[in-house]
């Protein structure tokens, strides 16, 4: 929204104030100013002049050679405007003048020297009208600078509409002027208006509000004998400076009052609309609006009708048929209040948002409708003196917004602000904003003005805002709180995430990435991975990105592929959310998940697989002091290799998987590289309690390592199970079993060497003492298809 400081000046005396500084204060106290525009600053030297003679140009049909009376001599001018004629009073930019930044010099036009330029309104930046010269009144004194006659100089600023969402009262200059009055501590000057009671003896307008839920108030008044067609210059300049286009006097005047007071108004041609019904219709129908568009109206959209015929969409747009035309001389004026939510819904249904509906949807003050009506009639009669009010200002006021009264005291202000704002200041600020104040010492009973009472100000905290924003947050003394401190233990889920990241980055040189929560259809397709059957977004940007991801791996593999050439070996990981379908409660089963993926051109797939296995083990060992089991299983997900898919289990519960790509996926990846990946459910992981440290006093006697080699199938061994058996059979001195060496032969019979570590706390062991246990271990191995290799 654009705000003209000249217009603001109608309601608060700004004399002697630094206007740019004041606008800056508005940003800090009310709403952010996005731009400040200095209108007229780059125009000077434009005067009132008269065309004394017009001669055709010898060779141009368009150009004319003029003699211009500047009030201080006659000058030559070449002009191409169509409406130029002898005796016309024009805006003339003399030699040396500036017109919107363009310097005017004596220059040859069509072979003749022109000592200045006759201007159109558009050229002067006063309207969009560039159809011809601006025709000035003949009564204006020749030679006088136009800036001394018309308010061409103005400072206009723009406020983002979004920052006014909660302030219906700021959708017009009047409300903004009230803010300036409070900020500048100057008096707010009420708008001049007609006394509506004056017309109460005249015949009433027939107004029938049939939908009392959605129409709060409807004031209608009839005016006749309107003869003026064009708005006064001052009004047109203001409208144009505020982003509105001048149309005709009546349309301009409704716009003017809307921009001034924030109250949308509608003028019906009295020949077509002389009584009003406000209602909704059960059956849908189409309606032609002022902009020549056919709109489909359904049972939710509130309509204005006359004699049962729809004539306007309430609060949004008028109908084409009932609008005022060039020959309109009598009108029925609407000044009404509708329910904000109803208008908002209708905007959505119609896909139509207008300057009027933007205001109505904020929930306007019904009292404003009366002020706007009175102001309109005042301005109308002042500008078009013959206009006559021919009806009462009939007022169907069906819903009064309840009055809001708030009790508050200074102590509450002190507590909420943390600073000391005096009771005098509180009273002064609230009064300046129009609040009613009953003060008893440091206690106040505050009556919220109607224009703030529709939704905006309802509770004590709202009053805190009113006082503090005018006080200025820059003026706050800032202090830390006096609240006692309590020890804070980090959340385990949070610290587990952080430690897992540290391990992966620092010990394994992985790179952390982030990716979207939805599957990217294109990259799944590129990897031959089917999109999962998973919850979908109903308003995704592209249908390809609608399905939420069920796994991390596909995106991570895609990232690995995208980073081809980054390094001969690189791994990435992400801790993010995946969705495992819907839960029993119908809600998405969201799981925080760690995904790891590795690309390695320096080793084979098994080595890559074991590298990722090592990462998972390190995470378990370092965070939980435990080791997970990797149990071969048949994966649901088709991107995993069925032969090498392992569930990561803790206490019999699956909390992730470790695998390598299915050959169909692998075929889409770099053939020279090996890939492996794992996922870990971090919600389940953080639920695991870390084991306590198990301390064993070390033996003072040396340990003996015994290596035993066997023939067997290395890939068939489940080492942690075998180890469990060995530990059970190996006697009390057996401390540990590790794999010392695996030699894979071509024929499928591998040589596997286990290292058994024995030690005693009482003595140095001799090999002889261990013979019986070694035999037991060999026997156990034989039970597990491991044949002892004679040495």
């Amino acid at each position: 929204m654009f705000v003209s400081m000249n217009w603001i000046g109608d309601f608060v005396n700004l004399e002697g104030l630094d206007i740019p500084a004041l606008i800056h204060r508005f940003t800090l106290s009310t709403a952010e100013v996005e731009d400040v525009i200095y209108k007229g600053r780059d125009t000077d030297g434009v005067i009132v002049a008269r065309v004394v003679s017009v001669e055709n140009h010898p060779s141009s049909k368009k150009l004319h050679l003029l003699k211009i009376d500047t009030g201080n001599g006659i000058v030559d001018c070449v002009c191409g405007a169509p409406n130029v004629r002898e005796g016309l009073t024009v805006a003339f930019a003399k030699e040396g003048a500036h017109v919107c930044g363009t310097p005017i010099t004596a220059a040859k036009v069509g072979g003749y020297i022109s000592y200045g330029m006759c201007c159109s309104e558009a050229e002067l930046g006063l309207s969009a009208d560039n159809s011809g010269l601006w025709e000035l009144s003949d009564e204006l004194p020749l030679g006088k600078d136009l800036k001394e006659i018309y308010p061409i100089d103005d400072i206009v600023f723009e406020v983002d509409n979004k920052s006014l969402t909660n302030r219906p009262d700021l959708w017009g200059h009047y409300g903004i002027a009230r803010e300036f009055a409070a900020i500048a501590e100057r008096e707010f000057l009420p708008a001049a208006k007609e006394d509506l009671a004056k017309f109460s003896h005249l015949p009433a307008v027939d107004i029938d509000i049939r939908d009392k839920q959605n129409a709060y108030r409807y004031i209608g008044v009839k005016v006749d004998n309107i003869t003026r067609h064009q708005s006064p210059v001052e009004m047109r300049i203001r409208l144009f400076y505020c982003g509105s286009r001048a149309i005709n006097f009546l349309a301009d005047l409704t716009n003017y009052v809307m921009l001034e007071l924030g109250q949308p108004m509608h003028a019906f041609d009295l020949r077509k609309v002389d009584k009003i019904e406000v209602q909704r219709f059960n059956e849908p129908f189409t309606f032609l609006t002022l902009d020549h568009e056919e709109r489909t109206i359904d049972d939710r959209v509130l309509m204005i009708c006359s004699h049962e015929k729809p004539v306007a969409i309430a609060g949004i747009k008028g109908g084409l048929e009932s609008g005022i035309e060039d020959d309109t001389t009598s009108l029925l004026l609407e000044s009404a209040t509708f329910d904000g939510v109803c208008i908002r819904k209708s905007e959505g249904i119609l896909g139509l948002r207008t300057d009027a509906s933007m205001r109505y949807e904020k929930m306007l003050d019904p009292e404003l409708a009366e002020l706007a009506c009175a102001r309109f009639l005042y301005l109308l009669q002042k500008i078009d003196t013959g206009a006559t009010v021919i009806s009462a200002a009939s007022d169907a006021y069906v819903y009064h917004i309840p009055k809001i009264v708030i009790d508050i005291d200074k102590a509450y202000f002190d507590r909420y602000t943390g600073i000391d704002i005096s009771s005098d200041r509180i009273k002064k600020t609230l009064s300046s904003l129009g609040f009613g104040i009953d003060r008893r010492g440091d206690a106040f009973t505050v009556t919220v003005p109607t224009w703030r009472a529709t939704k905006d100000v309802t509770i004590k905290a709202d009053l805190i805002e009113e006082v503090t924003r005018i006080y200025g947050y820059d003026n706050f003394e800032i202090t830390t709180s006096t609240s006692p401190l309590y020890p804070v233990r980090p959340d385990r889920a949070k610290s587990d995430d952080n430690r897992a990241k540290d391990i992966l980055v620092e010990a394994f040189a992985l790179h952390e990435v982030h990716s979207y929560i939805w599957c990217d259809g294109a990259s799944y397709k590129a990897l031959s991975i089917d999109l999962p059957d998973n919850p979908r977004l109903i308003n995704a940007q592209t249908p390809d990105n609608a399905i939420l991801r069920a796994n991390m791996t596909p995106t991570l593999l895609h990232f690995l592929a995208e980073n081809r050439g980054f390094s001969s070996r690189y791994g990435i990981f992400e801790i993010g959310r995946v969705v495992k379908g819907y839960g029993e409660n119908g809600l998405c089963n969201e799981r925080k998940t760690l995904g790891i993926a590795l690309c390695d051109k320096t080793a084979d797939e098994e080595a890559a697989f074991l590298s990722v296995r090592d990462m998972i083990c390190a995470i378990f060992r370092q965070i939980k002091r435990t080791q997970p089991l990797f149990v071969s299983y048949e994966p649901k997900e088709a991107f995993m290799h069925p032969a090498n898919a392992y569930e990561i289990q803790v206490d019999g519960k699956a909390i992730g998987f470790l695998s390598v790509p299915h050959p169909s996926v692998k075929a889409k990846l770099d053939r020279k590289a090996a890939y492996a990946f794992a996922e870990l459910d971090m919600d389940a992981f953080s639920a695991i309690s870390p084991l306590d440290i198990q301390y064993n006093e070390p033996s003072r006697f040396p340990a003996i390592d015994i290596d035993l080699s066997f023939w067997g199938d290395a890939s068939a061994i489940v080492f942690y199970e075998l180890k469990k058996g060995f530990m059970a059979k190996g006697g009390e001195w057996l401390q540990n079993v590790t794999v010392a060496d695996v030699y894979k032969s071509e024929e499928g019979t591998d040589s596997i060497t286990f290292r058994f570590t024995f030690s005693s706390k009482e003595k140095t062991l001799s090999k002889n003492e261990l013979t019986v246990y070694i035999e037991a271990l060999i026997a156990y191995a034989a039970e597990n298809q491991l044949k002892f290799k004679e040495i």
Partner: protein, 343 residues
């Protein structure tokens, strides 16, 4: 006779000693002169045939000779050792520490780094760090935050909705209600999280971004405290004093609500294209928690007040690290991301 022999022996010894340049050659000299078959041993044997007086005189001479040989050999051995060490030092290969290290180094996502920064600062001020879901419902994201249906504020946020009516959270404030109910008052918590808004992406706009929400609730929490905590946190994050200003801002879940601006980091507040010549950058909506929101969270607004803020972490990371294109965050592009090596 004896004296002459000894003098000859010394000469021969000196010649051989000088010729020995290795420890092995020196050992050969030692064996040759002091060994069982050497001249000293022979001389000793010759004593047997001498008179007592001759024996005494000759014995002293032989001992002196033996000592002379031993000392000379020891000196020579020391010299050879020193020469060998000198040689080892001189001939050693020179190493070059300037060649690039080949150890791979991992990296953190910039959001992780900035979040840890902020978390550390707030933890040190007694705030707990919380985590929350990305998929929430209408109550959590809107209703509990004093944003009823058809409230104009819903226009500000383009929400992603799911088929079952749930939605992707548009703001970390969606966790406020949950955390109030979890802890009650008094309360100090921050909760980083990913937020989603359905808008077209370009270098400055992303549909997926991170915020850091914070709340502090106690009996006397004031606007003055809010400004203090925000200013302290931002100064710590940027490692220098940061000027902040508050402007009124409207959020249904705050009253009063503010937009917090920081002095432009690029121009220092003088005005430049980055701050649209205003000298200020909009960084963080914040405010006093609306009494209705406290009430909905089970906290008595007559007894307690509190502030909340929603820091744009993605934006903060862009400012702190000078990341120009917001799309880098979710790109998986290691050329960009691998630069964030450690904390």
């Amino acid at each position: 006779m004896m004296t002459e022999m000894i003098a000859n022996l010394k000469n021969t010894f000196q010649e051989q000693l000088d010729a020995a340049t290795t420890s092995e050659a020196l050992e050969a000299v030692r064996v040759a002169f002091l060994g069982k078959k050497g001249p000293v041993s022979d001389l000793m044997k010759s004593l047997r045939d001498m008179s007592v007086e001759e024996k005494k005189e000759a014995g002293q001479s032989i001992n002196a000779l033996k000592n002379y040989f031993e000392e000379a050999i020891a000196q020579k051995a020391a010299a050879l050792e020193k020469a060998a060490l000198d040689m080892a030092v001189r001939s050693a290969k020179k190493y070059n520490p300037s060649i690039p290290a080949d150890k791979e180094v991992g990296s953190y996502h910039p959001i992780t780094l900035i979040a840890r920064d902020v978390e550390e600062i707030f933890s040190s001020m007694g705030f707990t760090v919380e985590d929350y879901a990305e998929i929430v419902d209408d109550y959590q994201c809107f209703e509990s935050l004093n944003i009823p249906k058809h409230h104009p504020a819903r226009d500000m946020q383009d929400t992603y909705y799911l088929e079952n009516g749930q939605l992707l959270k548009t703001q970390t404030s969606a966790a406020q209600n949950h955390i109030m109910k979890k802890y009650g008052a008094p309360l100090r918590a921050i909760f980083p999280g990913r937020c989603f808004r359905n808008e077209a992406t370009d270098a400055c706009h992303e549909n997926t971004f991170f915020q850091m929400e914070g709340m502090m609730i106690d009996k006397n929490i004031s606007i003055s405290n809010l400004i203090y905590f925000m200013k302290t946190m931002l100064s710590e994050v940027f490692g220098k004093k940061i000027n902040v200003r508050l402007r009124p801002g409207f959020f249904p879940f705050t009253e009063p609500g503010f937009e917090l601006d920081i002095s432009c980091l690029i121009c220092g507040g003088n005005g430049c294209p980055s701050c649209k010549n205003s000298g200020w950058l909009e960084l963080c909506p914040c405010g006093m928690i609306h009494p209705n929101v406290l009430k909905e969270g089970g906290i008595d607004p007559e007894e307690y007040t509190g502030f909340a803020f929603g820091l744009g972490m993605t934006r903060l990371a862009m400012m702190k690290y000078g990341i120009k294109d917001i799309r880098n965050f979710n790109s998986g592009n290691l050329k960009a991301l691998s630069q964030f090596e450690s904390n």
